[in-house]
Assembly symmetry: C2
Homo-oligomer: 374 residues x 2
Amino acid sequence: MERIKRVGIIGVGLLGSSLGLALKRFTEVTEVLGYDKDNQHIETALEIGAIDNELSIEEGENSNSKENKMLKKLDLVVLATPVGVISKLVQDIQEQLKSGVIITDVGSTKRKVINKIKGQLREDIIYIPGHPMTGSEISGPKGADAYLFENAIYVLTPLQDGNGKFNLLVELLEKIGAKLLFMSPKKHDQIVAAASHLPHIMACTLVDAVGKVAQEDERVFSLTAGGFRDTTRIASGDPIMWTDVCLSNSNFIREMISLFKDRLAEFDSLLADADSQGLYNKFNRIQSLREEIPKKKRGLISPVHEAVINISDHPNAIGEVTSSLGKAGINIVDIGILRVREEGGALRLVFSTAEELEEAKNILIKKGYKLQTK
Amino acid sequence: MERIKRVGIIGVGLLGSSLGLALKRFTEVTEVLGYDKDNQHIETALEIGAIDNELSIEEGENSNSKENKMLKKLDLVVLATPVGVISKLVQDIQEQLKSGVIITDVGSTKRKVINKIKGQLREDIIYIPGHPMTGSEISGPKGADAYLFENAIYVLTPLQDGNGKFNLLVELLEKIGAKLLFMSPKKHDQIVAAASHLPHIMACTLVDAVGKVAQEDERVFSLTAGGFRDTTRIASGDPIMWTDVCLSNSNFIREMISLFKDRLAEFDSLLADADSQGLYNKFNRIQSLREEIPKKKRGLISPVHEAVINISDHPNAIGEVTSSLGKAGINIVDIGILRVREEGGALRLVFSTAEELEEAKNILIKKGYKLQTK
């Protein structure tokens, strides 16, 4: 049976390096080569073992043969670069690749790149566009993590079956823990415009508008509750990447902006009319709609087994809670403080099973904690 | 010296009950009485010791005297009810109150209530409108917490000095840990329209618009990253409260919606023109603007001493990290997982001093953790 053994990763930033680590830990890939414009990235990727060797993407230097032996032996090439440079890279390297090689990318939008590549691509190369929905707060290979793809939604927008090559990539990605979704490039771009690009632009516009008022009176920022920081966290994304993403998906994004404007106009006219019942209905409907978000995810992500614990009266509660549960062998999947203050607050714990939640509840109640579960 | 000794709290939900607990723990208040339409709230408030006794707000039943002795002896009345019922309550109880009593409220908007009360208020009552910027994920007296006001911004919009009575309230609130800000009712309403009401309406509109697309294709919610849940968390607020808030501040909210629409139109035209440089400049400016939010808060809230720890390769890392730091006497002020997965991820820890951060760093590096600090 054919297998993917040699992989070249072009761009060893966060995604590329994490993929290298994951492939080496969880799959039968025997060699990972990496290329990056940034030498520091290559050094870090080598150091952490995300790649085995540096990959050259130039033509061979031997005057008798322009062959690049490194590129020639690859079974899979992963383009983990910004969307804007993908098609140029394919053009640059495809002559050096062997017949039947798979190329995939991790670009945030799909149609524009695919349209550029189509027609230019060598017929014996199988190009499978991809988009892993994962990331980290730490950028670059320093943030690399073999578990980055574990339970992450990973969209593939296959163009052709490629004689079973498609399945080879699917199996590889499943081994690193990805949850695969297949859809057309157009559907992908339409969905991410709603799910990712609109939220980003709205968070940015909110910072823009509130910042305008804050310039006139800086107490505005003092009075923003914790909610504002949450609401606008995504507005801190990389400006270069977001410019790239917006330009490669502008028609669907503009459709979403237009839909958003219509819905906002409804709010505005309810306010103008002081329509109490209308406002209540709208807030109520939206509240229910939002409650559906985790529920709809259940097919893909485990249901939430959650406890909220009042820790106001317990000094060093975080340590006490986590170590008691650790001793009992209960794994905490997620943890967070719901209200940040010097002392006390509420601690939110998430477990992967109802049984663990129940056990945790018993342990914590015995220790005198007040808690709510759901 | 005059002191506030007897306090009546009308509405013993989360804020009212927390205030009762805080007054009894941190101040020289000798008696806290509580009233609520909901008997269950009264029972819980009594049980947790947030109030000493139930307060009646009816006229006295003695046919010789309509005097309500409970109301008569109060030095301070706190109206911890929704904005919509405050002026009616003042009208109902003011005849029963003693001369020189202070009344304060915790309403989210100020002008509308104040305009209703003005002109109706007995001249020997000192009314000091307030707005504590605090809350909890757990609503009702069940979520009550003596530390709810600790380090919380608490706005007062005083109408008159009231012969030093104003200072009595200020001292009391400082004792429960509140950080006081004084401003005019108009300025308050203008600032909260930007800092709180606009973000809420935008989060709601985002859920509304994205939800519309999700109804057509439920994969939309699968593809929303964690960011979307953060961005829209505040959209789960109580519809009744938000209807109330919006109607009591609609003109400033509509001004903010108009400003938001202008800024959004800029985005839309940059997209229509495929203006790469313009988009980059806008994203870049907004990113810097957002970075200012915590910095501007420094006067009021301590600077952030933060460590981000890679916990991918450490099973039971949360317990290990928190208990090692606990043993060393290092207090974790905030904790959270930055990327949620079954295994691993990054853990964010916040400490209150640079020294604690440094010490924590040394301990964790010795234990083999990789971490970044800031």
